[in-house]
Symmetry: D2
Subunit: 366 residues, 4 copies
């Protein structure tokens, strides 16, 4: 139950602060004999890393991952594979920009975890938000890359993809949803027609020193029926926890989610017809691939909301560590829409939950 | 990580099927010396129990709880108290109506967990949905009553209240939100003016043999700042998991939730002024009382969506256990809006999560 | 990590006090489709139950187990099987003899957990030692019976057997070790020639109102190589924890245990020759079937020491709950050698650990 | 439950192989505001490190620890303190001597984990025994240093000390036991008169290319009554697991351990007299400071046996990875008595268990 670990059989423990020497994770419980190299992980990290467009923080971090343990190769086994022992992954911080932290050292920025960390621990690493920084999510993405290898090892061709479907007030037109578009724009947006207006919108937000929120959708395909468990080990319960644990996330829904409240039982329950191998073909997927906490074999579909970045250029009312009223304004590098970089993070968390449940299911049922 | 346990230091393990001899739970880790009787628990169970109005299942279950262990009293200590050892709570099933299960034995009802349990385990207790029945939530409510005692023991006057704010297509007017109304109607609805239209609406749903979903709001007051932990032990991550683990729940949001996506950083981040004892007074609570995964000291606010009951009187397309196409229709007792009885369940899960985090926080920080 | 749970994938949570209405356990994570009836469990319970000879407590407890959940049968599946959901087992207490507890209510009996429970919790169920009573082990034996079914389901013919190899000062002659003798005497002693002297010895202890300790050996055969995991999930680490958690146990050793300290590397390391299927045949089993925390495929062998029963008829110096010096003497029913009834408990704990590791291994490696 | 984690609220996850780039650990759940520097940790590491005498492996490893996260200091808080977030500790491997691994790559060395790792995972990092190397224990010692800081922070002056009381066939004279001697000889031996004969003895073992086992005693003083929990979270159960998880350990006993089997109830149960503050003064400590799984306030005393190093210079019968019979002999650096370096490791594991239980106790009871 440690505070900084996630998962059970496939278990990820992360560490590191924004301005410390390094961050990383230990992935424990990975099955052996799965090919794994640093390059397998680096690709995902590159999708999340800062500085890739003007719409994300300009901090310069190469986010180079180093595998410290848990893999093996020799001349007889030239392809490096996992050994079943813990895989430690480390990413060194290189751009901890030296600056005057005076203002945020003493003042609690509204919306940030400044006050709550201080209230809890009585001490606070304020440099770049310390442990509360979104830099922690780099370790999740690295672990998620390992999880994807596990899923493909177990089930063949598993696809886990994410897209931003709403940025601030701007929504996509679902009729134009195209996964192929996601890689073509800096927003992970699946609607080609939205790119221009989104660009203009976010440019306006950025120039105003303001920020906006986002809604992200993650879809996993190729997952068999049977993953998950009653009643507190439900697949959707673990997915909800996983997504809600991402920085700035305030809401999670599975399948039709909140919209099911206004639906009738007839509309909502996905009917079945006979498919190959005696398995059902569902006539809809309002359930988002999970019923009774167990996967149905349909795509697993979820969405989560990311609140607007709390770092903004407008002075805000607050108090300081001495309890005195004051104002605070965030200077320096930040993401006008932190939801953008949450897309690969959401994919990673989906992969980690599914890999864990895949192993748990195999443990109990075979 | 057992599938049927929830929490860490305050840990609840539930057991039991809809038509077995009994269901119940073991509450482990409860602090000692807290007064606890069966009457303390029974009140909450009565709010959840079936048969209390025509809008919930007509199954006749008194839901009498029996404490099997973990409490003590004698002539010198006439008030029964917890001892720190596991508290086992048992509720016997008395109305397992004898009937012909033939139809649901062989057919997978759409929206129910029939197919997924079968796909996972290869065997299925189809009687009253077995383990997937909402009857399991009686054990949660019993455990939640213990959790509330813990919270009040630790923090004095903690209030945890739930209300249904949307039933099917019907929404409350938030301007009329009044907690005092919740106990006055069969819907746990906080809007007195909504009761008549809601009654008419649900009566229509019920007579049509249909069902509808719901949105429930749960609010905890009196919780200090500092509960929760980075980064996978976040308070909101555990709340999301807790709520999503309730039967038929498809979505969870904290504070302003999905609405934050369209907000600006200026609107969303709750400003602070100086309050008593050097603590902040927040000028708003868009965060729902949690920032960075840690409680702020404001009310903890969440909402969750319950999908429409999958048991409906309309024939639905499905397949049977042999993979053959067929139709199925649910006969017998059911809830037209299972969201109603989810209100006390949501309160219980809120209490369990908060009690667990209260002990975890005390363990680490003192 | 709950205090009263053991195991991970095969997880047992026990509850109940000596003089409460019932004790029992919840077994979570059991694989589905394993035949299981109350009779499967009752046999093991009968071997542990009180009153079976004059050398164990005369408390009259039938120890009838009742399965409350987690199994299923119907006319089409006449053999009752596990369903994969939690199996709750309950044993009602029937002989909570009404008596005057005055003396032990106020005084801390040396060797008993009276003082430590009081120091920890500030409240203490002194009736029959409450939660610290060896009655709790009935729940372990019940859970162990389920674990044995799991092991046989997975691996075919697994044998888990225990024997008392030392009672007080009396040791067996290992040259006469015969498993077949264990069922023929009230001591679970494997040495037929020891029965008469042991009987005389223990009769002397009993008549003197004294007590003695014991050493128990447990052997599991039919366990494949590969169970266990580096480095804190070692099979022997979990076995050590399991045995040390049994009431009154003070020592545990695997294979040659403490004797290895005086051995040379040549003596101690078990050499290998080629066996069938490319697997090794070991030329000795000093390792007790576990190397590097992982099973070798040889019999898993361990021993544990049980201290003498602390309930004795001699007055002993102690203090009372007010910190005053006094004397205390235990009256009433007790076991002159509580180690006797620890034999089936040790077997049960061995089975639980192995079943858990069997599922964990399958989860990670397949 | 991850395989490579230990503890619950104070939780240690280790990683790394003998010949990989680095090993280390993540310590999660440490209370905040405890002063902690690398120097605090280095001292303990130096006591364990290789190459410190001719009786331990000649591998040259400086074992320099680097703190990667979880601490903070600035100009206003010049003493570096823990922040409550995960503390990652890293030790780089520098002397992975390049050599021909051919022999051990293909052959299973008796007594080593070669065969069991291969049987479990199907792949094996044979370089320096990979994950099964005693190098992993450096990470434990580092984590133990943090645990000691926690204990001293909570309880004031806690002392945790270890000594080797038997090396091979050589035993100390307990009448001469003197903690002050432990630091004066390369064996951590508390008996000054034993040093010369032990030196001669081990020199003989070393020159013969053989090895011997050892018995280590660890004593913790300054621990209050009340740590531990019924019934699977017993303090002694967790200590047994902790010690048995150390490489080459085959036995653990608490207090009088195996000797209690031959004791009477009168001899074994520690009597009490009134001490200050209403607490008892015990007249003996046969219990080793733990009764009913809970600390009594006396010194916590345990012993464990370390088997002889399996690396010896004598050819031994074995099989290879192809199942063919062969012989194997260990060349190169090794410890003639690996028990020597187990002394600081045992101290570290004692500290980790106690720190975890201290936080768990505070969580439940306050």
């Amino acid at each position: 139950m440690s505070h900084n670990s996630f998962g059970h059989l496939f278990r990820v423990t992360t560490f590191g602060e924004s301005h410390g020497p390094a961050l990383g994770c230990v992935v424990d419980g990975c099955p052996p004999n799965i090919p794994l190299t640093e390059a397998d992980i680096q690709g995902d990290l590159d999708r999340r890393k800062p500085g890739s467009s003007k719409f994300v923080t300009q901090r310069k971090e190469p986010d180079r991952v180093k595998i410290l343990s848990g893999v093996f190769q020799d001349e007889r086994m030239p392809e490096q594979v996992t050994t079943g022992t813990p895989i430690a992954l480390m990413i060194e911080n290189v751009d901890q920009r030296s600056k005057d932290y005076g203002d945020i050292r003493d003042k609690f920025r509204p919306g940030h975890a400044d006050y709550t960390y201080f209230a809890k621990y009585g001490v606070r690493d304020y440099k770049g938000s310390g442990r509360a920084s979104a830099r922690e999510t780099a370790a999740r993405v690295a672990a998620g890359a390992v999880a994807k290898k596990v899923l493909n090892h177990l089930y063949g061709d598993v696809s886990i993809r994410g897209a931003m479907i709403q940025m601030g007030t701007q929504k996509i037109d679902r009729a134009r949803f195209d996964w192929a578009e996601v890689a073509n724009n800096p927003f992970f947006c699946p609607d080609a027609a939205a790119i221009d207006p989104w660009t203009e919108y976010l440019e306006g937000v950025r120039k105003a020193g303001s920020s906006c929120g986002a809604i992200i959708e993650i879809v996993a395909e190729g997952i068999p029926a049977g993953l998950g468990a009653p009643v507190y080990g439900k697949l959707d319960a673990d997915l909800a926890s996983a997504m809600m644990s991402i920085n700035a996330v305030k809401a999670v829904e599975i399948g039709d989610g909140f919209a099911t409240a206004a639906m009738s039982g007839e509309e909502n329950a996905d009917e079945m017809r006979a498919g190959p191998d005696g398995k059902p073909v569902f006539l809809a997927n309002h359930a988002g691939g999970i019923i009774g906490g167990i996967s149905t074999g349909q795509p697993v579909v979820l969405r989560f909301a990311v609140k607007p970045t709390s770092s903004i250029l407008t002075p805000r009312k607050t108090i300081d560590v001495h309890g005195q009223e004051t104002e605070v304004m965030t200077k320096g590098r930040h993401d006008p829409c932190v939801g953008i970089r949450a897309v690969p993070v959401g994919e990673a968390m989906m992969a980690i939950v599914l890999a864990d449940h895949a192993l748990r299911h195999r443990g109990q049922v075979g």
